[in-house]
């Protein structure tokens, strides 16, 4: 490439953290997201516990990976020609899709379920997306808690199916492939092949299925643990399958254990991560770390930290109350 003056551009070099555009920051084995050990909040029984900080991805979450693969897959199959995108998302996938769609000049409509912070909706609109806030019980008869997904599908089917392409993160194998080809190999390499336990939350299940398959192919003895919230939870990104439909891409055969976590311990652990580890993670990370502390067996364990806590400031404010304000 050359500059507008005809002189050669600097070439991209991940080791120098020099990139040609924001897409080049998307992670892979050569440019992985960091693993950071927990030194204060992990219990001794879980062994050496590392969090993979996915909020250091270019658009702020683990969903950057799936979004890139989903959009690239649509493009490769010719499904994005003269079409807009529509997707149901609790925020992070939508943010990543919106950013990538904006780069590619594609419009995005996103249907957002209940419980998503106001900050996320504003970020999406800032990226140029159209946001349809959708009550979870929009279809009380057929989809009691999946109103956003049902609405996105309905939009995709409207106008003879010619206007929208739907990445469909809950059913699209490209979501799994993103983690099988990037997150899994990164973890294997970053732990020198010593990872004994991998733990992540149940959501679209792309991470659990993709990483689980990859790691178990390297070593069938690796334990894969899923974290599930309780019904009626306030942990965006996670799904309780007691109230929501299981995604088509979930492969339960790679999951060894499921640990259920309530909101309160998840948020309490999130607070501890901020204050004791200086890790400014989102509440789903707190759920994952709280669940990890129930594990035994030692060795090297890796948990996913899907996003940062910055977009949950309003949730934290409710929890903090007057904490941190001067007592005069």
């Amino acid at each position: 490439m050359t500059t507008h003056l005809g002189t050669p551009s600097l070439t991209s070099d991940a080791s120098l953290r020099r990139f040609g555009d924001i897409r080049e920051l998307l992670p892979d084995v050569a440019n992985p997201t960091p693993l950071v050990r927990l030194n204060h909040v992990a219990t001794a029984t879980v062994g050496d516990f590392y969090l993979k900080l996915e909020w250091l991805n270019p658009f702020g979450s683990i969903k950057d990976r799936a979004a890139a693969y989903l959009i690239d897959g649509l493009r490769e199959r010719g499904q994005l020609v003269r079409r807009e995108l529509v997707e149901a998302s609790s925020g992070n996938t939508a943010i990543a899709l919106a950013a990538l769609a904006a780069l590619g000049g594609t419009r995005l409509t996103v249907t957002i379920p209940d419980g998503v912070p106001e900050e996320t909706k504003v970020l999406l609109r800032m990226l140029g997306a159209e946001v349809w806030e959708t009550p979870d019980d929009l279809c009380p008869i057929d989809h009691p808690k999946d109103g956003a997904i049902a609405l996105a599908r309905s939009l995709a089917a409207s106008e003879g199916g010619t206007r929208y392409a739907m990445p469909n993160q809950y059913e699209n194998p490209d979501n799994v492939r993103a983690h099988y080809e990037t997150t899994g190999p990164e973890i294997w390499r970053q732990t020198d092949g010593r990872v004994g336990t991998f733990i992540a939350g149940l959501g679209t299940c792309g991470t659990l299925t993709g990483v689980g398959r990859y790691l178990k192919q390297q070593d069938p003895a690796i334990r894969v643990v899923a974290v599930e919230p309780q019904p009626g939870h306030r942990l965006p990104g996670l799904k309780s399958f007691a109230e929501a439909k299981e995604p088509g891409i979930l492969d339960r055969s790679v999951i060894d254990d499921v640990i259920r976590v309530d909101d309160e311990p998840a948020y309490a652990m999130t607070e501890r991560l901020w204050r004791e580890e200086a890790l400014m993670a989102g509440p789903s990370t707190g759920a994952i770390v709280h669940a990890a502390n129930e594990l035994t067996g030692g060795g090297v364990s890796v948990g996913v930290s899907p996003d940062s806590g910055r977009t949950y400031a309003s949730y934290f404010a409710e929890r903090l109350g007057n904490q941190g304000l001067p007592h005069i």
Binding site: C139, P140, I141, A150, L151, S154, L155, E159
Partner: protein
């Protein structure tokens, strides 16, 4: 609550045509349209999704609106919905 009433008997404040749209788009758009009306105002909703015959009455009950009538004309359904509970 459902009553039989015809458009001729009622002043329709707004018409929403959801022909060709599948559930839950008609429900979503209807809820947004009704939200803009004053209490007692009537929305005429046109749909072609057979699922609307159960979804729209459920939506009206959920929102405490009044389904005044349902008319089927071939593949089309026409609903008259009043905002809020009426006698």
């Amino acid at each position: 609550m459902t009553h039989q009433a015809s458009a001729a008997d009622l002043a329709v404040a707004d018409t929403l045509d959801c022909s060709g749209l599948l559930c839950p788009l008609p429900v979503y758009k209807t809820a947004l349209s009704i939200a803009k009306l004053a209490d007692g105002d009537v929305l005429r909703l046109i749909t072609t999704d057979p699922g609307a015959l159960k979804d729209i009455p459920a939506m009206a009950r959920q929102r405490n609106d009044t389904l005044l009538s349902v008319e089927e004309r071939g593949a089309t359904q026409i609903f008259l919905i009043a905002k809020g509970a009426t006698q």
